[in-house]
C-alpha cells in the first residue's frame, strides 16, 4: 500500500517537471510546427542562471523569499532573451522549410548554446539546494515527502492552467488557436502571424527555462543536463500527440508513473521504460494519444 502511494507521489513529481518542459515544447510545435531541440538549452540556461542567482541570494545569511522570487524572474528574463535571439535572429529566415530541416536548425543552435554555457559557467557543478532543504518535509507512514516536491506539482499545475486559460479564454488565445488550425485562413483574416510566432516562441522558451529553474534546487547543475531533457520531453510530447496541451499532461503522467513503477517494482527496465512506452504508444496510435489524423495530400 505504501509502495503504491510512493509510486503515485514519485510519478506525480516526475510528471510535474517534465510537464512544464514539455508544455513549452508542444506549444511551439503546435503553433509553429517546429520541434525545438534548443529547448534543452533553454532548460539548461534556466537551471544555470537560477542556480547562480540562488548562490548570490544565499551568499550572506540566506534569504528564502528572494530565492523564490528569483526562481520566477530568471526564467522570464532568460526565456525572453534567448527566445527572441533565436526566433528573430535565425528561425524567421527559415520559415517554410521542411519540418525536419527545422529540427536540424534547432539542433545546430542547441550545440552552439551548449558551448556558450561552457564558456559562461565552465565545467563546475553548481549546487542550489537551499530552497529545497529549507522547505523541509512531511511524513506519511515510513515515507518522508519533500515539501519542495509538492510545490513543484503546484507550479506545474498552475503553468498548465495558465496556458489553458490563455489559449481558451483570451482573445489572444483565440488568435493563436486560429493560427494552429489554419494558418492561411488566419493570415487572410488579418492575423499578424509573424507576431503570433514570436510571442509563442518566447512563451515556450520561458516555460523551458522555468523547467530548468524549478529543477535547479533539486539537482546540482552540471554540463550536459540539457541533452537528457530533450529526449525525455520529446518522448512525452510524442506520446501525448504533438501540439496538444492535454496530450502533454497525459504524456507526462504516463511517463512519470511508468518510470516510478519501474524503479519500485522492476528496476531492470528503468533505463529504457520511457522509450518503450513511447514506441508502444506510437505503434498503436501513430499520431499520439491526443491528435487528430491529418488528411493526406493528393
Amino acid at each position: 500500500m505504501l509502495t503504491a502511494f510512493a509510486i503515485f507521489m514519485d510519478g506525480l513529481v516526475y510528471a510535474a517537471w517534465v510537464f512544464v518542459v514539455a508544455l513549452g515544447l508542444t506549444l511551439i510545435f503546435g503553433v509553429m510546427k517546429i520541434l525545438n531541440v534548443t529547448h534543452g538549452a533553454f532548460f539548461a540556461f534556466g537551471a544555470y542562471g537560477t542556480a547562480t542567482m540562488i548562490g548570490v541570494a544565499f551568499a550572506g545569511e540566506g534569504n528564502l523569499a528572494w530565492a523564490f522570487i528569483l526562481m520566477l524572474v530568471m526564467p522570464v528574463v532568460i526565456g525572453c532573451l534567448l527566445g527572441l535571439l533565436l526566433e528573430r535572429g535565425l528561425l524567421r529566415f527559415a520559415y517554410g522549410r521542411d519540418e525536419v530541416v527545422m529540427v536540424l536548425i534547432t539542433y545546430a543552435s542547441f550545440l552552439i548554446f551548449e558551448d556558450a554555457l561552457l564558456l559562461i559557467w565552465g565545467t563546475d557543478v553548481y549546487p542550489a539546494y537551499q530552497p529545497m532543504v529549507a522547505l523541509g518535509n512531511v511524513s506519511v507512514g515510513r515515507l518522508f515527502i519533500s515539501n519542495y516536491d509538492l510545490a513543484l506539482v503546484a507550479v506545474a499545475g498552475l503553468a498548465g492552467l495558465a496556458t489553458w486559460w490563455g489559449l481558451n479564454r483570451t482573445r489572444w488565445g483565440h488568435i493563436v488557436t486560429a493560427v494552429i488550425h489554419d494558418r492561411e485562413m488566419a493570415t487572410a483574416l488579418g492575423v499578424n502571424v509573424a507576431r503570433v510566432f514570436t510571442v509563442t516562441f518566447v512563451i515556450g522558451a520561458i516555460l523551458g527555462a522555468l523547467g530548468g529553474a524549478i529543477t535547479a534546487p533539486k539537482i546540482s547543475v552540471t554540463p550536459g543536463i540539457g541533452i537528457e531533457v530533450i529526449v525525455v520531453s520529446f518522448a512525452v510530447v510524442a506520446i501525448g500527440g504533438m501540439g496538444a496541451i492535454g496530450g502533454a499532461l497525459l504524456g507526462a503522467l504516463l511517463v512519470g508513473f511508468a518510470r516510478a513503477a519501474a524503479v519500485h517494482l522492476l528496476p531492470e527496465v528503468e533505463l529504457f521504460v520511457i522509450y518503450a512506452v513511447m514506441a508502444l504508444v506510437l505503434a498503436i496510435r501513430p499520431e499520439g494519444l491526443f491528435t487528430r489524423i491529418a488528411a493526406r495530400r493528393i
Binding site: 510512493a6 509510486i7 514519485d10 516526475y14 557543478v125 539546494y129 515510513r142 518522508f144
Partner: protein, 430 residues
C-alpha cells in the same frame, strides 16, 4: 562531376601536408613530450577532469624546476624536461583511440598520462601496446585491464576499484558489527554496477547474515532520485552504499537530506571526499566517507602531501580533492621510473630501460607508498582509508579514520578480483 573525383585525395593530401608542417623539426633529446588526457568538457570535467589537469600543471612545473620534495628534487624525468600536450577525453572510446594515434604519430608524444573512464582505458591499452608508447593510466576503476590482458607498455599507478568497496564493507562493519540489512544506490553504468557487486561480495564473506533490502541503479547523470529515495525510505536498510560522484552525488545528497533519508540510515559514500571541501557542514552527521585511496583529507602526514595540498590550494584557490592525488601519483611514478632508469644507464634511458625500472617499482606519493605489484608489475596497489563525517565540534571534519593496508583490501597477483571475492578473500592480511 569530374572535379569531384579529386576531392577525397585532395583532402587527404592537404591533411598530410598540414600535419607535416605542424610536426616541426626534430630536436636533440633534452625534453620529452607527454600527452595528458583528462575530461576537459562534459559532466566528468568539473569533479575529475579539471582537478586532475590542475594537478598535472602543478606537478609538471615542479618536476621541470626540480622543486618537489625529496626524493623527487631533481629536475625533469631522468633529466628530460616535460612538454605537456593536453587532450580532452570527451567524445567516446573510438575518438580516444584515434586521438592516441594522433598524439604519438602527429605530435611525437613519447609518453601518455591519461584516462579517467574505464571504457577509455580498455579501448586504448591494446593500441598503446601496438604503438609502443609508454602509457600511465591515472584513474580508470575497472580491474579488467590487467586481469584480461598482459601489457608491456601500459601501467596503472592507482589501485583498482575493488579496494574501495572491500574497504567500505570492512568500515561499515567496524561501525556496526551487527549489520542486518543494507541497500545500495549506484549509477547504471559499468563502474556503478561493479562497485555494488564488489561491496556485496565482500559483505557475503564478512557478514553472511546481512540481507540486501534494495539495490537501485538510476541512469548516469539522472539528477532526479525521488523514486529511489522513496523506495529506500520504506526499505528498512541499516546502511546505504553508494559510488555516486560529481553532480549526481550532490543531487542525491541534497534530495535525501530534504527527505530525511540520512537519519534513517548512514550513507556510505565511496567517492564522497570532494563533498567535504565543497559543501562542508551540509554533509549529514555520521556519513561514511571514502576518497578512493588515502587521498586529500584521508592522506597520511608526509612532506609530499604538505607540498601538494599547500601549493594546489594556493595556485588554484580551491580545496584539493582526490583526483589531484591520482594525477600526482601517476607523474611521480613516471618520474621515479625515469630517474631510476637514468641512474642505471648513466644518461637518458631507453624506453625499455624505463619500462624495466617501472615494473614492480615501489615509490612514495602524497598518499603513502605505492607498489606496482599486480599484472606483472604494471598495476599498483596501495593502502586506503575510510572515515566518518562529523560537525559536532563546530567545524566539518573526518573522524574515526581507519587505515587498511594494501594486502587487506586487494587480491594477490595470481587471482582476479572476482575470484578473490567469491572465494572469501583468502590471504587478506588486515
Amino acid at each position: 562531376m569530374m572535379i569531384g573525383k579529386g576531392a577525397l585525395g585532395l583532402i587527404l593530401g592537404s591533411a598530410a601536408l598540414a600535419a607535416a608542417g605542424l610536426a616541426g623539426p626534430a630536436q636533440a633529446q633534452d625534453s620529452i613530450k607527454v600527452g595528458v588526457v583528462s575530461f576537459l568538457t562534459g559532466a566528468a570535467a568539473g569533479p575529475f577532469g579539471i582537478p586532475g589537469k590542475n594537478a598535472a600543471e602543478l606537478v609538471i612545473d615542479a618536476i621541470n624546476e626540480g622543486s618537489l620534495p625529496a626524493p623527487y628534487n631533481t629536475p625533469g624525468l631522468g633529466g628530460l624536461q616535460i612538454e605537456p600536450v593536453y587532450v580532452d577525453e570527451a567524445g567516446g572510446t573510438a575518438t580516444q583511440v584515434t586521438e592516441l594515434r594522433n598524439m604519438v604519430q602527429r605530435q611525437d608524444v613519447e609518453a601518455v598520462v591519461g584516462y579517467i573512464s574505464s571504457g577509455s582505458c580498455l579501448a586504448v591499452a591494446p593500441v598503446a601496446e601496438e604503438l609502443q608508447v609508454l602509457t600511465v593510466f591515472w584513474v580508470c576503476g575497472t580491474p579488467r585491464i590487467f586481469e584480461e590482458n598482459k601489457y608491456k607498455y601500459v601501467f596503472r599507478t592507482a589501485p583498482h576499484a575493488t579496494m574501495d568497496n572491500v574497504a567500505a564493507a570492512r568500515y561499515v562493519l567496524h561501525k556496526m558489527n551487527d549489520l542486518e540489512s543494507y541497500a545500495g544506490i549506484n549509477q547504471n553504468y559499468a563502474w556503478g554496477q561493479d562497485s555494488w557487486r564488489d561491496f556485496v561480495l565482500a559483505l557475503k564473506t564478512l557478514a553472511p547474515n546481512a540481507e540486501i533490502t534494495g539495490d537501485y541503479f538510476p541512469k548516469l547523470f539522472a539528477g532526479e532520485y525521488g523514486s529511489e529515495i522513496s523506495a529506500l525510505l520504506v526499505s528498512g536498510a541499516q546502511a546505504l552504499h553508494s559510488s555516486l560522484w560529481g553532480g549526481d552525488l550532490e543531487s542525491f545528497l541534497f534530495q535525501s537530506i530534504a527527505r530525511g533519508l540520512p537519519q534513517r540510515m548512514p550513507l556510505v559514500l565511496t567517492s564522497g571526499e570532494p563533498l567535504v571541501g565543497r559543501v562542508g557542514d551540509k554533509i549529514p552527521e555520521g556519513t561514511i566517507i571514502g576518497a578512493r585511496g588515502s587521498h586529500a583529507d584521508l592522506a597520511p602526514d608526509n612532506a609530499l602531501n604538505d607540498w601538494l595540498k599547500t601549493n594546489y590550494e594556493a595556485r588554484f584557490g580551491e580545496a584539493i580533492s582526490y583526483p589531484a592525488y591520482h594525477m600526482t601519483m601517476a607523474f611521480l611514478g613516471l618520474k621515479a621510473a625515469y630517474d631510476k632508469a637514468a641512474a642505471a644507464a648513466g644518461g637518458t634511458p631507453s624506453k625499455d630501460q624505463v619500462i624495466a625500472a617501472f615494473e614492480h617499482l615501489e615509490f612514495d606519493t602524497p598518499s603513502g607508498a605505492v607498489e606496482m605489484a599486480l599484472g606483472n608489475g604494471h598495476q599498483a596497489i596501495a593502502g586506503t582509508a575510510y572515515a566518518t563525517f562529523t560537525n559536532e565540534n563546530g567545524k566539518p571534519e573526518l573522524v574515526d579514520v581507519v587505515r587498511y593496508p594494501a594486502s587487506c583490501v586487494q587480491p594477490p597477483d595470481d587471482m582476479t578480483s572476482i575470484e578473490w571475492l567469491e572465494q572469501g578473500m583468502p590471504g587478506a592480511a588486515c
